[in-house]
Symmetry: C2
């Protein structure tokens, strides 16, 4: 692993030599994008670096309890002498403003699909989160993990692992989390903020979807309408993560959620258990996704789309011999 | 800490000298009771001990994926030459059959309320779970942590910490979890079984409760009826843990759930945020509990009990100056 150690050292030296650093993470930022950005950014600032934090889509309200979030800018600054990309598998994930004009010097990420688009590429696919990579390397590069840095990094680790439960969890990730607690991060509080806390409106909206839950053998589905969102005063057009709860219903092979949009279309989300690849179903309806999580937006009324999609899904389950 | 080390050693010797051991945990067993019981029991068996595993209420269906569960007996055996109590704060928690006739030799627990009722009392209140205490001591006592032992103990740790998020979480508990993964426990699978997996009927039943959600300032409440349970074909009379989801609704001080029972009574559950002690409310209605979680069973119709309890709860919130 001397090659890895050498890369590690070169990345550390690059950070050390730079004085004006642009740190950026991906569009539609999640907890790991934000936690990695703030974690690295604040650590560099504490050593006297001039750091610009960049997220094209800004920081969502649900992460504005993290120290330093108000420094995050939505406009890139061309003046930096070093550009660091975090948690992005390819350059386009940085957003159109930055991607067009920027050479990335250091690309730090944990996605297996990373395209190694940086001058230096510190990509560790065994890491549960990009924040885990930073927590492991910062001390060796000479940056101490202060309580605000630890809080940001632990948020990244907790969110990307859904509370330490994704299939890629490792003993190392748990030990890094323990180290971050000792460095001053309040695990229960950060966890509550990032994963547990729910709005009144979201839970009321869940009521509509769950009340209408139906099953046929190992296929489970439900729907939510525009009227449901109005009744619950739920502000978004999304499903308030209902699909993730449906995916945890036991004794199912496939779950489907129909979400009525305002434009004569129905958004359909599928989730499946291992052994059931639902990508062909989503492709058939002009959508896409992964074997275990796919979606499509289909023109029609709720009743029409439900009938078509349920029939196709049943046909698919029957054709696999498990339906 | 030499006193602690001495106790540790004496407990280890007692286990070593015994050949017929009764291991017992508490009534209405949770994941830590079952995980600790199976973890210690299987470790002793692997060293050739004759072990009887005892739970007065048996093993609930949701934990029957753990190796060894089918050995658990609901009848105590008077023939043991050593009795170990796990996760019990007092003798009565073992159940009426065992508590009446048994001298406990070794009492292993993490509750701060533990009465030290054993001949030897290994009580560590910094532990998140009794399973954590066992995981830390078994190797020193000469018992290796096999994959089935690790799976049982990690189940105890994951469930008592609600997925590593309770306010008593420690770096040590995370590191013990990491060790148990390395000893062969599949964290994502055990976590899914213990905390994530839900029945179709429970989620449909949630729909009724969440659909009816109401709020007045920082007080949030809802109700579930016998008709709701019939419509969802939900088998229990409980709330399917709806109260725990209500407790995670943000911008609340107190949440209340009204659960219509079949006997002309309404079961009322309160949960509160720090700073709001709801015990007086529960006591006022003949119930009890803790500052943040209390309950009562009140005679009357749903409408009558809702009106009384909401009025009292509002009065209480106003009297604290925060309502």
């Amino acid at each position: 692993m001397s090659q890895q150690s050498e890369l590690d050292q070169v990345v550390g030296e690059s950070l050390h030599q730079a004085s004006k650093i642009l740190v950026a993470a991906h569009i539609r930022p999640d907890g790991d994008a934000i936690g990695s950005l703030l974690g690295l950014g604040l650590a560099l600032q504490e050593k006297g670096k001039s750091v610009q934090l960049f997220l094209e889509d800004g920081v969502p309200a649900s992460f504005r309890h993290l120290p330093g979030w108000e420094q995050v800018s939505q406009k890139p600054d061309a003046q930096a002498d070093l550009v660091v990309s975090l948690d992005c598998s390819d350059l386009s994930r940085l957003g159109k403003n930055l991607a067009a004009s920027t050479q990335v010097d250091i690309n730090i990420d944990h996605h297996i699909t990373n395209l190694n688009f940086g001058r230096l590429n510190l990509v560790d696919t065994r890491a549960v989160a990009t924040a885990e990579i930073l927590a492991m390397h910062l001390p060796g590069w000479g940056y101490s993990i202060s309580p605000p840095v630890a809080s940001a990094l632990l948020t990244g680790l907790v969110t990307d692992s859904l509370g330490f439960r994704t299939s890629n969890m490792t003993p190392r990730a748990l030990r890094v989390a323990a180290d971050l607690m000792e460095a001053g991060a309040n695990l229960p509080e950060l966890y509550q903020h990032a994963l547990i806390s729910r709005s009144f409106e979201a839970v009321k909206y869940w009521g509509s979807g769950f009340n209408r839950l139906q099953r046929l053998d190992r296929l489970v589905w439900t729907s939510v309408t525009q009227a449901d969102r109005r009744a619950a005063q739920y502000p978004g057009h999304d499903d308030a993560e209902m699909i993730n709860i449906l995916a945890s219903v036991n004794d199912t092979d496939v779950v489907v959620l129909f979400n009525e949009q305002g434009n004569g279309h129905i958004k359909v989300s599928w989730r499946s258990q291992p052994g059931f690849d639902i990508t062909p179903l989503a492709l058939q309806f002009g959508g896409g996704g992964h074997p275990a999580a796919a979606g499509a937006e289909i023109k029609g009324t709720l009743a029409e789309v439900e009938a078509q999609v349920l029939q196709s899904t049943l046909n698919y389950l029957n054709s696999t011999g498990n339906g």
